[in-house]
Amino acid sequence: MAHSGIDLLFQGQNFARFLQGFGVTLRVAVITLVIGGVLGVVLGALRTLNNRPLQVILRLYLEIFRIVPTVVLLFVVYYIVPQVFHLEMSGEMVAIVTFALWTGAEMSDIVRGALIAVPKHQVESAQALGLNRLQQFRYVLLPQALPVALPGTINLATRIIKTTSLLLMISVMDIVNVGQTLVEANGHKHPAFAFWVYGIMFIMYYILCAPLSWWAKRIEKQRLERSNG
């Protein structure tokens, strides 16, 4: 019976452990977003410069992270980095490094796209007014590029949150792993328990991602309406 399963969820420490897993998921996502975001802004700005070798290298970086599935990247960092750099890294650390590098690559493309979307004559007229390069960036480019980059960045944040579900694979006790453990401990007695655990997981991810998706959609719509006059 289905409701015999849901009771188990609130027995003993079960729900508290669930929330702990939720906390790990959230922590990894936030740290990834901050580090990857900063990396992406720097790389994205660099990609608008007229420097051929730099272009090629950064483009290659982006393409590698686009072609190789994130799961595979995760295991590459998990197995290779400790060997090559003789570093002991916790699972959470491995995940943050991988996800931040991937986020940086995706973010660089969003930032570059937003910067080149600002019409050239905007920069030229700023130059004509005597603004230096930093001032051009600060007062003309950035304010116009930010609204263009924002929806993509928010969507990237939801992708990061969803990607944290991979933490399970390198044995980090994230929300999915906690759920998995609970099911393994109780599932054989109550087959419906698994249904409720994964159902709750669905809801938790939905609660994290859906508001961000709505927000991204709303500001994108506003921006388009504004640019259409």
Binding site: V72, F195, V197
Partner: protein
Amino acid sequence: MDWTVIARSLPQFTAGFWLTLKLSAIGILGSLIVGALVSLAQYFKLPGLRQLATVYIEISRNTPLLVQLFFIYYGLPGLGVKLSATVSGVFGLMFLGGSYMAEAFTSGYNAISKGQLESGRALGLTNVQLARYVVVPQGLAASVPALAANVIFLIKETSIFTVIAIPELTNTALDLIGLYYRSNEYLFVLVVAYAIILIPLSVGLTWLERRVRYGTFGN
């Protein structure tokens, strides 16, 4: 890097390679069908179906494939629905991909200018005729770039099938690493295998985008 280790693993990787391709192909085809139906239900504002489509897209887009797979493979048996790992994988990919494809189609339809619709109406075309001769051909062409990006995305997502032990590429590599501890070799083959699938595909799709764009809109 030990090349004999790599050579000996090739039969397993070849099997994983074909399974990845096969499951991707079926899942993507299914996603396209689901996406087309869902986007049309939304475009024509079909009562009931349209709300259902919205709820589906919301859930599908805001949850990870891994959780979707666990729910289908481990959760549904609690309701008496038991599916094999492979079938769960394909259904999971279709569930995820359907909403991505639907949004790609929808953005294509929305890219059609109001003038195109009005001149079609002014000629006396019915809604169905308008869809068939104006909205669908132009909308499809406009959605090709997004559809192509989804194809690449979904192939990469099949790597997550490993969590329910479907012996595709990633699962093959992780299994071999578990058995023989040769992570460098097996991860190298794994990356190369994905590159063999995705690089030519991504080049081909870019070419297709250009062709379709020019063929339909001339720029």
